[in-house]
Assembly symmetry: D3
Homo-oligomer: 247 residues x 6
């Protein structure tokens, strides 16, 4: 199998770290095909940015669909996820949604721990979009808004462990999601120090993409797809997808 | 006052009809500045299309903000609305949201009547996004999926009146929203034949934009805005808005 | 146009202040016809009081409907609003509902700031009644229960600014509603000091009444009205309205 | 014990029938003190009527509270219930609420069967007000709107049995509530013909009033009561209750 | 009438205390038939324990149904309640549900006060199961997890009074439920010190069982029952109930 | 890895069919260890049966936990799932929950198609328990209640295909879950005839168990577990699990 790992952020180092985690997750069962956005934002953190980056994600998927079995949108916040599900005839998985659905099968209530209060609203919106907001105990972050994203994993390690444990003991979370691409890979490193399972969203999304692809089912010719449309000024591959001329 | 009427669809005739209704709504109190998308889709009808067209709407707003007091996103489905509210320091109103909020002040329950079952899911999603889904009696449409959008107002007039009355008498709607830009202007024409108030979304959105602009308040420097971001490959005006360098 | 501004409280000074704000809101587009209750309570603050004052509001409307285009119920808490919508064939708007619906078009989440914890439950009930409780961050008040209602605007000015800013920065409110007739007119005075738009409910209700009246629609002969009823011991005008003999 | 049975409708025959059922329910454990409204409506069926009749109910309670242990508001729709709970220091029970809460202890989902589609909206509102709307399968009525309220028990008997059985077999109701004072006393007569328990709301309300009175607890001096208020033009007993000068 | 009081916990002293309260509640109107589990747990406090104890409760009911008019499941958490309602043709009432439904007829919002934070999750789950979570202000407990269940009523008396009053004044609870069998009987003792009605769940459950039994209705032959099933390895009486061969 | 596949039903043929599907799902990545209940019911279809069978499932897990990496509860309805998650320090997955969570990553709305209306309530309860009821379009079944469970896959094949397609085209389901162990294995056979992905719950549950086990995390020593308890009369292995003495 081949999984397309679409990073709608422009930071190649993030893509590489996430691709490495994805490869460790799938082992020899699949090939990971990583893509990094070449326009847009270094790191998406609002609805406005997700509006634009989601369109870029659709374009990246449309242009790289050949031979692909499933797609991972590798940004917490899942930009473009709903639209991609309408357009493309294969499983498409988002990091936030996959982390939330996985958490919901590990325990009753889950928390998101992340690195800056600037992400709080954006991440809470993501959980609400899944429909599982009633099982969410909230976003927990350190107080400082400005952080060095490249160093956040080491700089904030102890704070994040403490926040995760407080989410469990004080807020009653059964599972902790370590949200945000800058924290990719940290979950297994701190797992032994946190009193509940800790989910790494990129690992969860990769595993869920494999799961959905393995379940099969008929994605092509679905009755619930929107009608094909002509489009002007879009990347040709995306225009063809909108016209329902592919797959 | 000056209102920017942003049609993220590419159909100029629709923009013109909607601008005429907007002008009739504001009279001499404001100038209407209409814009039509120059790329994208003739008529948005799905999440995938709204993902892309919403980014185009943000660009159109960013490039035409000078001297504007409020913005109307002139497509039922409100593409780009949430992002625009984050970025721009003035009231931004969507057709679906404005119609729904207005309906909710006219009665307890409201229905949307529109011209094709292809719009049902998209419009239901729009109502859910407002948070008022609990007062919504559903989308009512004729059975035929394929329609001539340019002629739908006259071709389906009788069907739409019948559907509106059924929404009232059978489903208990207190108010009927006539959804979709192709029906702009039909509401006052059929009002006398429908046993409940009928809302024209472009009139509602224009009136609400005036209302919000008139209420004043401090849109600039809001604490709840996201942080500014650098961006690559965006229209320069939109990049500056994302960087929070304007207004 | 002529708007009936019905204050179901007995405090004439409040009516006068609210009428002045309403006049500033409508300019030369409409005449404001203010009414003050001649029985009932100086200031409504509970369900029991609203039960009684709502009946008085219905009576005041029924007796003064001639030549009126829309009605504003000028008490936060909207006593009598739902019943008035059933009985009268024109737009009827409440201060709390209009403020909430307007706030919901300015941002995602809104807060109510008011002058005494005695109002907390009553105002929270009002928001819940609109159906938008999921977007409400709560009622914020100073700690002291006993206040001099006539002086509360000046005495508590600094406290209210601080509470409004805390609602924004700590609770994530995008918009602040300054609830309660004693605070009418304060919103524009403190707007520059609050890091989010601040809504004055009487201005919002007046503007929304104009908006709804401008949208037209068929209020008379609505299919969803209750059946006419005979009544005994009511003010004659109200009895005629209940009998569906007027308008 | 003494229970005040307050009929906020003006129909004495209804009060008498309901008092008889209440007496059969309490046996020798309590005395039933029935009251019929002397102004208002023959039969309440809308929010507007409930707004007014609820105020009348508060007055009736305030004037007859001496030696009373609990109050039953004997109209389906519970006019005045929430306000009465704020004002009076004893249990106050409504017919709709008591029927719903009792039904919710007999099965998972419940239906309301009543005599005219004119009651549908009003009764659905009552269920929503309890918070148990998620367990409600809806209001079922015969098609004819105009009925002779005095004869409805015999005229519609077979229709109501059929509707009740359909609510059970087709909509999955576990319990059927026979809503509306004109059907008081019919439940036990048709019980053997309906394939689920059938609740008579006046019996349920009487039994629940006894239950709550028996549970004791401190109704006087509750911290969650609103502050006392002066009032003008109210019945003196009600004004004293609003002023928190009684009980 | 005869009420079966089924304690699915193994602590006889608890059963005896609860039976005494039940007897005081029913007076000479009914006979209380108490049962204590002979296997299972001293005191149920989790979903896992309730899964098992609920099966034991079904067995205890099936084996002792002769001549019984209603059943009380005498453990807060209501183990086996939903299954018992499916199987047995008479009213079955749970302590948590009966307390919640009774509280909801005494006021708008209710709190649960109990003796250990270990019960918090379990009790919150119970409220959610009733559907009335929207009116629940939460579980309040002392900080210490380890308590001597037999002495908790006296040891923690002052703490519980303080917690109950804080639930009322700080969280806005109108009614307080004193949750957990070890607190049975404490409610009337502290009622005068708490500024809101305090509910004793075993008294509430007993009273509600009497109420439901008194309302009559057809429990046998209900259309919404599941189909009969053969079973192996169950207590014979329970197997017969599952086979729908009894009552 | 080793997965315990616990069938709390007593039908060995079902276990064998499900084990075969599970083996096809995991390939050489894991060993499937199937278990069939030796007491209880041939096929669980109600809350009462699930109450008892869930306790049996806990016992089966406790007695067979050695060397196991994850557990699948192989009955649609997930008897014992919540309790098992509390007790055991490894991932535990249910068929209904896993199917629902997987469906929710394939599309916006999902339907359950099954073989008899007798399952409708039970399956709807299962979806509600996941928290995703808002995305559920309902249970669709043939009209006949009595079916030969062993032959249902072939007898009803055409009916089930038609129901699945109607769920998609008429109710707007994006994904169809083929609910109930008797239909295990049918999904891939009919996939090409249904206009949406069709999920086989046992395949979904097996895949999700692998996914969760692969994500790692600290299940042992979780802070949110209930306290250990002594127990009497339970299978010794289950008693030790309840006492928190294992794993």
């Amino acid at each position: 199998m081949r999984l397309l790992l679409v990073n709608p952020n422009m930071t190649v180092a993030m893509t590489e770290r996430m691709a490495a985690i994805a490869r460790a997750t799938v082992g020899d069962r699949a090939e990971i095909v990583p893509l990094t956005a070449t326009r847009g934002f270094p790191y998406i953190a609002s609805r406005a940015e997700a509006q634009i980056a989601g369109g870029i994600a659709l374009e990246m998927i449309a242009e790289n669909l050949d031979g692909i079995d499933a797609v991972v949108i590798a940004a917490f916040g899942d930009p473009g996820l709903m639209g991609a599900r309408e357009l493309f005839d294969l499983p498409v998985v988002g990091m936030a949604e996959a982390a939330v659905m996985s958490a919901a099968m590990m325990g009753e209530r889950f928390s998101i721990v992340t690195f800056s209060p600037l992400m709080t609203r954006w991440y809470a919106d993501c959980v609400a979009a899944t429909g599982l907001g009633g099982r969410f105990t909230g976003v927990c972050t350190p107080a400082a808004r400005e952080v060095d994203v490249a160093r956040v994993r080491s700089d904030l390690r102890d704070d994040l462990v403490a926040l995760a444990n407080r989410a469990v003991t004080e807020q009653g979370a059964d599972v902790v999601i370590l949200g945000g691409a800058p924290l990719a890979g940290l979950a297994p490193e701190i797992a032994a120090e946190v009193q509940a399972p800790v989910i790494d969203p990129i690992a969860a999304a990769t595993a869920q993409a494999m799961t959905l692809a393995g379940l099969g089912g008929r994605f092509a010719g679905r009755a619930c797809k929107p009608a094909g449309k002509s489009a002007i000024g879009l990347a040709p591959a995306l225009a063809r997808a909108i016209a329902m001329e592919v797959r």
